[in-house]
């Protein structure tokens, strides 16, 4: 009778053996099954959700209505709305099997390390085996992560992104990353920086490394690039290839593109439109493809600077007849316009005329400038910084 009823409800024959309980007669078990089905329906679960719950946790039939209600109440007290309650119970019906004390002990621990109540409950409910684990297990997991260099806020961030970090073995993951050639602190950095990384399987990581190698990089280069930008593991290989090919359209050779992406891996994170718009800014300022190519090669990270900032620097240099610096030494564009302006004004007032023959004076290291001209950067900015210019203008107007 029980078997026929469960099958007619939509369950598999195999579930019947998992449902049986020596404490109950078949007749009693049938009554309980009907009660539970009706009760779950009344609580708002769809038939599809009920079937998922029973398949995952057939012992739901052994639970009382009161126990089920108690868990629903707990979830609502923690801020879950009706839909979230249904989703959570369907995802992890094992919640019905455990006492509130057992659940609260772990939740309170998660809250103590920085998760909100809702995030803590989510962490517990989104993983099938989570309720079997003790608070000590969770505590040991967090302590292990901290012992290898993760900071508490990084752990919280990873848990929020994907709670599997707590329920899976990170020790094994670390060992596998080391076998791939990464150092321990690099593995910690990559996972802290890109919190979704731990959700990417080791097989996918290995595959991605091979795919990037197939684009012309050697293993140590892939390691350097992925430590700098771990998000690479989630980029499509086709998309990476497309960006490399786009850089080639600027007239750069394969080797040159490789150099650029090794120095400035972040360029791969930009869309082709963003890179193109930066290049167009240089074109609008009158630079040819050949010149742009030279600038990027000498200073690959020029592509990371904001367009406004680069434009401001070039226009200032143009205004003082030193635009040649852009081609002679693109790297000097790193220096802030404020400092370049302050040094230029200071030297001019000291009688030093700056031309393309001696422009290096403007871009000396801070110590070298101080040693040669006896003025610190802070003093220069104070004397010739933007605010000071305004003050001087106001003073002139007053006179």
């Amino acid at each position: 009778m029980l078997k026929e009823y469960l099958i007619s409800y939509g369950l598999d024959e195999s579930i019947v053996n998992r449902v049986k309980n020596d404490r109950y007669t078949e007749k009693r078990m049938l009554e309980k099954a009907v009660i539970i089905h009706v009760h779950l329906h009344e609580l708002g679960f769809s038939k599809e959700q009920i079937l998922i719950i029973i398949n995952k946790f057939p012992r739901i039939y052994w639970c009382t209505k009161e126990r089920i209600n108690e868990k629903i109440k707990l979830l609502k007290e923690f801020g879950f709305n009706d839909n979230e309650v249904l989703f959570t119970c369907t995802s992890n019906p094992f919640i019905f099997n455990y006492s509130n004390e057992n659940i609260l002990e772990k939740i309170n621990y998660f809250i103590s390390i920085g998760l909100t109540k809702k995030q803590a409950l989510n962490t517990l409910c989104m993983w099938n085996n989570s309720f079997f684990r003790t608070k000590l297990y969770v505590e040991n997991k967090v302590n292990y992560l901290m012992s290898i260099g993760f900071k508490k806020d990084a752990i919280v961030k990873m848990i929020k992104t994907n709670p599997s970090i707590i329920w899976n073995s990170f020790y094994q993951r670390m060992e596998q990353f080391k076998k791939l050639g990464y150092k321990e602190n690099e593995v910690v950095k990559m996972h802290s920086y890109y919190s979704n990384l731990h959700a990417i399987t080791l097989d996918s990581i290995k595959k991605k490394i091979e795919e990037i190698e197939s684009l012309g990089y050697i293993n140590s280069e892939v390691i350097k690039m992925t430590v700098s930008l771990p998000h690479l593991f989630s980029y499509g290989t086709y998309s990476i290839k497309e960006k490399l090919l786009f850089l080639r359209t600027l007239g750069l050779s394969e080797r040159e593109v490789k150099k650029i992406t090794l120095v400035n891996t972040d360029v791969i994170s930009y869309s082709i439109e963003t890179i193109a718009s930066k290049i167009n800014t240089f074109k609008d300022l009158g630079y040819s493809n050949e010149k742009i190519k030279y600038m990027i090669l000498d200073f690959p990270s020029i592509l990371n600077s904001s367009i406004e900032s680069i434009k401001e620097k070039i226009l200032y240099l143009r205004s003082i007849d030193l635009e040649g610096v852009v081609m002679s030494s693109p790297k000097d564009l790193i220096q802030s316009t404020d400092l370049t302006k302050a040094r230029y004004e200071y030297l001019k007032n000291s009688g030093v005329v700056i031309t393309m023959d001696n422009y290096r004076e403007l871009f000396l290291g801070n110590d070298a400038f101080k040693n040669k001209y006896g003025i610190t950067k802070a003093e220069l900015i104070k004397l010739y910084g933007k605010n000071n210019e305004v003050k001087q203008e106001l003073k002139k107007e007053g006179e």
């Binding site: 806020d153 992104t161 802290s192 919190s195 090794l262 990270s301 990371n304 801070n366």
Partner: protein
């Protein structure tokens, strides 16, 4: 995410930032304010903050404690104009302390003295990434 608008970023900027770092979509107000407040702490102007966020949207996903440790390390090395350093190379903010230490160790083993290494680092904040690339 609305917090980003206060840095003079427009819809297009934010769209572009999300295309680089889609984790931005999951960040709440407190997380964004927390990580940006570090930039204010090192005296970045509003303009510099805008530049940094546009050029390096991944910064928003950095852990606050890692960035604070990085700043402590740089101050320990007597690098004080951090707003300019980060404005020159916004991606410097994605470095961990061990990367700075490894770089310095490597340069010292090549015969350089600490003051020169630091001066070079300040003059060219991209130097760490250039290391070992021909």
């Amino acid at each position: 995410m609305e917090e980003l608008f206060q840095w003079n970023l427009n819809d297009l900027d934010i769209k572009e930032m999300i295309s680089i770092n889609n984790e931005i979509l999951n960040l709440d107000r407190e997380e964004i304010n927390d990580i940006v407040s570090i930039l204010k702490y090192v005296n970045c102007t509003d303009k510099q903050i805008r530049n940094i966020l546009i050029a390096n949207p991944n910064y928003l996903s950095r852990c606050k404690s890692d960035v604070i440790d990085l700043i402590k390390k740089l101050k320990e090395l007597n690098i004080n104009d951090l707003n300019e350093l980060f404005d020159s190379n916004p991606h410097f903010l994605n470095k961990d302390v061990f990367e700075i230490e490894d770089y310095i160790k490597n340069e010292i083993s090549n015969g350089k003295v600490l003051n020169d290494i630091i001066d070079e680092l300040v003059s060219n904040p991209f130097i760490i990434d250039e290391m070992g690339v021909l």
